[in-house]
C-alpha cells in the first residue's frame, strides 16, 4: 500500500477517475463510497434537468418519506417526547447498504404510521373542540346565575319590562370584549344592557388552535330584528353563542346533562391521547435511525443521478476526483464489494488524463483543522500551491501573543483551552450552542495563543501588569537618596531574559517600552513578510514559472529589502553599538529613512561610515526595481507567447488555472477545454496593478504591523489601570473593612480581568492577528483560486438542520 501523502504543505495530488459500475450493484457501490468519503463526483448530466434524471422516482419517494418523518418529529415535539439519540461511532469502513427491501419497508411503515397518526390527531382535535364547546356552554350556564341575579336585583320592580326583554349569551375572546361592547353600543344607540364575566380558565380555540382566555357575556335588548343583528355582530367577532334558559331550575337541569356529556368526552379524549402517545413513543425510539438510513439512501440516489446511464450495457458511468494515493484503497474496496456480493461483472476504475484543475485537498487532523479553516475562510488555495495554513499554526497565535503578552492572562486562556482539549471527546458529543462551539472548534488555537502569551508576557515581564524579579536587574539605583528626590539608575549589566523589572513603575518606563515595542513590531513585521514572500519563490519554482521569479520575485524582493530590510538592519546595528560609551549622538532612524528619500546623499547624523553612498546605492536599486517589476513580465509575454497565438498554459500557472475555472463555469463539457488566449493588454494591465499594489503595500503593510505595538501597549496599560482602580485600593486597609474590601475588590478585579482583558481584548487581538495573516502575509504569495475538495460522504443527520 502506498504511504499517504501528508498534504499539508501542498494540497494532495488528485486524479480524475472514471467508474464503471454494473447497474445491479450501483446502489451498493455508491453507498460504500459514501461511508469511505473519498470521491468527489462530477455532474455528468448538466444538460439534463433535475427532474428528468434516472432516479427521480426513488428520490421523490424518499422525499415524501422524509416529510413524513419530519411530521412525526413535529408531533413528538408537540407532545414533549424526546427522540432516542443514538451515538454511533463514525467508522469509515466500507459497508453494505441496508437491503432495498428494508427501504421499501420504511416507505410502507412511514405511510402506515402517518395514516394512523393523522387519524388519531384528527380525532383528538375533534374531541378537543367538542370538549371546548361543552366547557364554554357550561361556563355560560354558570355565569347565567350571576347575570340574572344582578338584573333581578336592578329590574325586579318592572316585571313587564323584563318579560319583553330578550337576550343573547355567548363566549368571546377576552381581547375582543371591549370591541364588542363598543360596536353594540353604537349600533343599538345605547339601547342595551351588556354584562360579561371572565372565564376562570383559558379555553381551546379552534381558530388559533391554542388555549385562549375568554369571557362569557350577555346582552339584553328587545326586538327580534335587533337580536339577530347582535348575534351577527358577536359571531363576526369570533364569539360562540349559547342559548340558555332564564329560569334557575332549567339551567341547573341542563348543567346536569352537560356534565355527564363532558365526562364522556373526557374519557374518550383520554384514551385517544394515550393511544397517540404510545404510538409516538414507539416512533421516537427508531425515528433517528430511520431518518439516518433514509437520508443516506437519498444521498446515494442523488449521487447516482450525477452518473451517466448506459441503458444498453446496463452500466453506470461516474466521474470524480480522488486523492491519487487513495486509488489503491478504492480499488481494493471495490474488489471486496464485488466478491461479497458475488457479482460476475466487477466495477472498473480508470484514471483519466485531463487538464482540468483538480480540487484542493489539505489533509487536516483535529489539531491542524482549525488553523486550516482560518485560511480557507479567506480563500481556497490553488491546486498544489503552498498552503498558508501550515505556517499559520505558529504565526497566528504568536502574533496574537505579541499583542496580548501577559503571563497571567495567557495562563487563564491556556487553562481554559486545556480543559477544552482534555475533555474534547466528552464535549464533542455534547450539543453546543454557537459561541461555545466556536471556542470548542478553536480549542487548539486558544491553547497555543495562551501558551505563547505566557511566553511573550514573560518577555514583557508582565503578570497581571506586575513585574517578576526573577533575575538580577541590570540597573542599580544610587546608594542613598532623600525622600522625593529624582534619582537615576546606573547600568551594571544586561537583564538576560525579557524586560528589566527595574523599569517597572519608573517615570520613563513607558518611553522605553514604547521604543522597544515599536521596533519589535517593525522587525517582526518585516521578518514575517519576508518569510511569506519566500513562499512565492517556492511556488514559482514548483510550477516552473521562471518568468515569475525574474519579473516578480527578484525585483520585489530587492525593493522590499532595499527599504525596510535596510531599516531593520539599521535598528539592530544601532542597538549593538554603545553610543554612550563612544560619546557620539545616537541618530534617529526615522529621520534617517525619510531623508534617504527626500535628500539622497545627505546624511546629517552618521550611523556608520560611508552611509551616504550605501543609501544612494540602495535607493537606486529600489528605483530600478520598479520598472523591472512593471515591464519584464509583459515584455516577455509579448516576445514569446504572442508569436504562436494558441498558447497552452502551464498546468498550474496562474493563467491556466483561472481561465480554466471560468470556462468550467461557462460550459462544463466532457471535452478537454482550450484555454482562452490572453492578449498583451490584459497582461500589461494586470502587471501595472500588481506593481502599484506591491510598491504601496510594501510601505503600508510594514506600517500595518505597528498594530502589534499599539495593541500590546493598550493591553498593558489597561491591565495596569484595572489593577490600580480595583484591588490596589484594598491593600491599604486593615481590620474587618480590609478583609471585606479585599474580597469584594478581588472579585471585581478578577471578573473584569476575565471579561475585559481576556475575552474582549483577546477577541480584538485575535481579529488583528487574523488581519495580519489575511492581508499582510497571505497577499505576498497566496493566489487562492482553488475549489475545495468535497468528497461524497454521509453526513450526520439531524431534524433541526434540515430545512
Amino acid at each position: 500500500m502506498v504511504e499517504k501523502e501528508e498534504a499539508m504543505f501542498r494540497s494532495a495530488e488528485m486524479s480524475l477517475i472514471q467508474l464503471y459500475v454494473p447497474q445491479e450493484i450501483a446502489r451498493d457501490t455508491v453507498y460504500g463510497l459514501g461511508n469511505l468519503g473519498m470521491v468527489q463526483f462530477r455532474d455528468l448530466n448538466t444538460k439534463i434537468r433535475m427532474f428528468q434524471r434516472t432516479f427521480v422516482q426513488e428520490i421523490r419517494k424518499l422525499d415524501n418519506l422524509q416529510r413524513q418523518y419530519r411530521y412525526f418529529n413535529s408531533l413528538l415535539q408537540k407532545h414533549n417526547i424526546a427522540l432516542y439519540e443514538e451515538y454511533d461511532e463514525d467508522d469509515k469502513r466500507f459497508q453494505l447498504p441496508p437491503g432495498s427491501s428494508a427501504i421499501d419497508d420504511h416507505v410502507e411503515n412511514g405511510s402506515l404510521i402517518e395514516e394512523r397518526l393523522v387519524q388519531l390527531v384528527e380525532a383528538s382535535e375533534r374531541l378537543e373542540l367538542q370538549k371546548a364547546d361543552l366547557e364554554q356552554y357550561r361556563y355560560v350556564l354558570k355565569a347565567g346565575d350571576e347575570f340574572f341575579a344582578n338584573t333581578g336585583a336592578s329590574g325586579s320592580g318592572d316585571e313587564l319590562l323584563s318579560r319583553s326583554v330578550s337576550f343573547v349569551t355567548g363566549v368571546i375572546p377576552r381581547a375582543k370584549v371591549g370591541t364588542l361592547e363598543q360596536i353594540l353600543w353604537r349600533v343599538l344607540r345605547g339601547n342595551l344592557f351588556f354584562k360579561h364575566v371572565e372565564l376562570p380558565q383559558p379555553v381551546y380555540d379552534a381558530k388559533s388552535k391554542t388555549k385562549v382566555a375568554k369571557n362569557a357575556f350577555i346582552v339584553f335588548s328587545h326586538g327580534d330584528f335587533i337580536l339577530q343583528r347582535i348575534k351577527k355582530i358577536a359571531e363576526s367577532l369570533d364569539a360562540n353563542l349559547y342559548e340558555i334558559s332564564e329560569s334557575q331550575e332549567e339551567r341547573s337541569k341542563e348543567l346536569g346533562t352537560l356534565n355527564t356529556r363532558l365526562g364522556d368526552v373526557y374519557t374518550v379524549l383520554d384514551t385517544t391521547t394515550t393511544t397517540l402517545e404510545t404510538e409516538l413513543y414507539a416512533v421516537a425510539k427508531v425515528l433517528n435511525y430511520w431518518n439516518k438510513e433514509v437520508s443516506h439512501e437519498k444521498s446515494v440516489y442523488e449521487i447516482l443521478n450525477l452518473f451517466n446511464f448506459d441503458s444498453n450495457r446496463k452500466t453506470l458511468i461516474g466521474e470524480g476526483w480522488i486523492p491519487t494515493d487513495e486509488l489503491d484503497t478504492l480499488q481494493q474496496q471495490l474488489a471486496k464489494l464485488t466478491s461479497t456480493l458475488g457479482v460476475d461483472v466487477p466495477s472498473i476504475v480508470q484514471v483519466l488524463e485531463t487538464n482540468r484543475t483538480p480540487p484542493t485537498f489539505h489533509r487536516t487532523n483535529k489539531f491542524t483543522e482549525a488553523f486550516q479553516n482560518i485560511c480557507d475562510c479567506y480563500g481556497i488555495a490553488t491546486y498544489r500551491e503552498v498552503n498558508p495554513g501550515l505556517p499559520t499554526i505558529v504565526t497566528f497565535p504568536f502574533m496574537f501573543a505579541v499583542m496580548f503578552g501577559d503571563m497571567g492572562h495567557g495562563a487563564l486562556m491556556a487553562m481554559v483551552a486545556s480543559l477544552l482539549v482534555i475533555y474534547e471527546k466528552k464535549l464533542g458529543k455534547m450539543k453546543r450552542d454557537e459561541i461555545f462551539d466556536m471556542a470548542y472548534s478553536g480549542r487548539y488555537i486558544l491553547l497555543l495563543m495562551g501558551l505563547f502569551s505566557i511566553y511573550t508576557g514573560f518577555l514583557y515581564n508582565d503578570m497581571f501588569s506586575k513585574s517578576l524579579t526573577l533575575f538580577k536587574s541590570g540597573w542599580k539605583w544610587p546608594d542613598h537618596w532623600e525622600l522625593g528626590e529624582t534619582i537615576f539608575a546606573k547600568q551594571v549589566g544586561v537583564y538576560p531574559f525579557g524586560l528589566d523589572w527595574a523599569w517597572h513603575g519608573t517615570e520613563n518606563g513607558l518611553l522605553f517600552s514604547n521604543s522597544f515595542k515599536m521596533k519589535l513590531s517593525v522587525l517582526l513585521g518585516f521578518i514575517h513578510m519576508t518569510y511569506s514572500y519566500m513562499f512565492s519563490l517556492v511556488n514559482a519554482v514548483y510550477f516552473q514559472n521562471w518568468i515569475d521569479i525574474i519579473g516578480n520575485f527578484i525585483p520585489g524582493l530587492l525593493f522590499m529589502q532595499g527599504i525596510f530590510g535596510y531599516l531593520s538592519v539599521c535598528i539592530v546595528y544601532k542597538w549593538s553599538v554603545d553610543w554612550v560609551k563612544d560619546g557620539k549622538p545616537a541618530p534617529g532612524l526615522l529621520n534617517m529613512l525619510i531623508n534617504m528619500f527626500l535628500s539622497p546623499g545627505n546624511v546629517e547624523e552618521h550611523l556608520y561610515p560611508h552611509q551616504a553612498t550605501v543609501q544612494v546605492f540602495l535607493l537606486v536599486i529600489a528605483l530600478i526595481c520598479v520598472p523591472c517589476l512593471l515591464l519584464i513580465k509583459p515584455l516577455h509575454f509579448k516576445f514569446t507567447q504572442e508569436k504562436h497565438h494558441q498558447h497552452q498554459p502551464l498546468p498550474g500557472s496562474e493563467e491556466g488555472a483561472s481561465s480554466q475555472n471560468q470556462l468550467e463555469l461557462l460550459e462544463d463539457d466532457d471535452d478537454e477545454e482550450e484555454a482562452a488566449g490572453h492578449n498583451f493588454g490584459d497582461v500589461m494591465i494586470h502587471q501595472v496593478i500588481h506593481t502599484i499594489e506591491f510598491c504601496l503595500n510594501t510601505v503600508s503593510h510594514t506600517a500595518s504591523y505597528l498594530r502589534l505595538w499599539a495593541l500590546s501597549l493598550a493591553h498593558a496599560q489597561l491591565a495596569a489601570v484595572l489593577w490600580t482602580m480595583t484591588i490596589q485600593i484594598a491593600f491599604g486597609m486593615t481590620g474587618f473593612i480590609g478583609v471585606f474590601m479585599t474580597v469584594i475588590l478581588f472579585a471585581m478585579w478578577f471578573v473584569l480581568t476575565c471579561v475585559i482583558l481576556v475575552v474582549m481584548e483577546g477577541t480584538s487581538a485575535m481579529l488583528h492577528s487574523l488581519r495580519l495573516h489575511w492581508v499582510e502575509s497571505m497577499s505576498k504569495f497566496f493566489e487562492g483560486e482553488g475549489t475545495p475538495y468535497e468528497p461524497f460522504v454521509f453526513k450526520a443527520v439531524d431534524f433541526e438542520s434540515e430545512p
Binding site: 539608575a489 524586560l499 513603575g505 522587525l523
Partner: protein, 72 residues
C-alpha cells in the same frame, strides 16, 4: 554579555532545529517540523530583540517615588 550572546543563542537554536528536522516524528512530519522549528525561531527572535534593545540603552530608569529605605 554582548552582541555575541545573541549570535551564540542563534547557533544553539539553529542546531536544535536541525536536530529536530532529522528526528521529527514520522507521522504528520511536515506539521511537526514546521510547527516546532517556526516556534523556536519566533521565540528566539522575540527574545533576541528584547535582549538587544537593552544591550546599550540610551535612556535610564528615572523615578522620584522610591523610599530611601529601599537603598541597598
Amino acid at each position: 554579555m554582548s552582541f555575541y550572546t545573541v549570535v551564540a543563542v542563534l547557533l544553539v537554536v539553529a542546531l536544535t532545529s536541525a536536530v529536530f528536522w532529522v528526528f521529527a516524528p514520522k507521522q504528520n512530519q511536515t506539521v511537526w517540523r514546521s510547527t516546532v522549528i517556526l516556534t523556536l525561531s519566533m521565540m528566539y527572535l522575540m527574545w533576541a530583540i528584547t535582549y538587544l534593545s537593552q544591550l546599550h540603552p540610551l535612556v535610564e530608569p528615572r523615578r522620584a517615588d522610591l523610599r530611601p529605605e529601599f537603598a541597598e
